[in-house]
Amino acid sequence: MSVPGHDDLALVERLRAGDEAAFSEVVRRYHEPMVRLASSFVPARAVAEEVAQDTWVAALRGLGRFEGRSSFRTWLFAILVNRAKTAGAREPRTVALEGPDGPGDERFTPGGAWAEPPAPWPDDVIERLVAPGLASRVLEVVATLPPAQRRVVTLRDVEGLESGEVCELLGLTEGNQRVLLHRGRTRVRQALAAELEEV
């Protein structure tokens, strides 16, 4: 399995030389993740598509300024986040740690023990859930997370960025990022558990 972003530098060189095939390749890699990330800042998918397209224009024009200090992907996402914030300016800029805190405390007895322990997941759960159809269900679940949670889960867990990169991109402290990650993952796990009960 290829490490995301590891061979981007070669692609950037080809982009600078005007290689359209290299552009198709980076678009295939990053356009959908960009649209999904933008969607968490703006009200409509069509606006998110526009933001992503504008980001490509800005990135192509600014290629000369890309110095490789961050990965190409992080550089691209940073341009996108700036533009998406502007496009979604009606949303408060500060990231609220929105609640509720995933599934409530009814999972636990007043003493804090499990009221009903989680049902064990089968060992082949990944194979079952990655199957076509269910994978898109997982993305749908991520799409229903509150925006700040969705951004963090998308960047950290789906795209595999480091926590430091995500904090910088989204202007979060490490602590706030962990809270958002925790809440987002908790909800996704809960949705998966519900999904597994149905299978």
Binding site: V27, Q53, A113, W121, I126, S136, R178
Partner: protein
């Protein structure tokens, strides 16, 4: 035995569940981490919960990128050609070529 019971009482399942992400992120102090692990060693429910959170993270990382819609690909190819032509024109204006 008494000591470990105390440890277990010290950290409830609710506490352990709240600490799962900090644990996975390596953000717990050594002593909290030890308490967390001690609790998990004695609690099947929390051990399973940690496993399910790890599976959730693994699963999210295994999602294949969605294909870009052909229309979007087409539009972006147009964008690429336009920007490249523009850059070339600027280049020419500056008399570099």
């Amino acid at each position: 035995m008494r000591v470990s019971t105390l440890w277990r009482r010290d950290l409830s399942c609710r506490d352990a569940v709240r600490l799962v992400t900090d644990y996975l992120e390596g953000a717990l102090s050594a002593s909290r981490r030890a308490r967390f692990e001690r609790h998990l060693g004695e609690c099947d429910g929390c051990e399973e919960y940690l496993r399910e959170m790890q599976l959730t993270v693994a699963l999210l990382g295994r999602l294949e990128p969605t294909d870009v819609r052909p229309e979007a690909l087409e539009a972006l190819a147009g964008v690429f050609r336009a920007v490249m032509a523009e850059e070339q024109a600027e280049h020419d204006d500056r008399g570099d070529r």
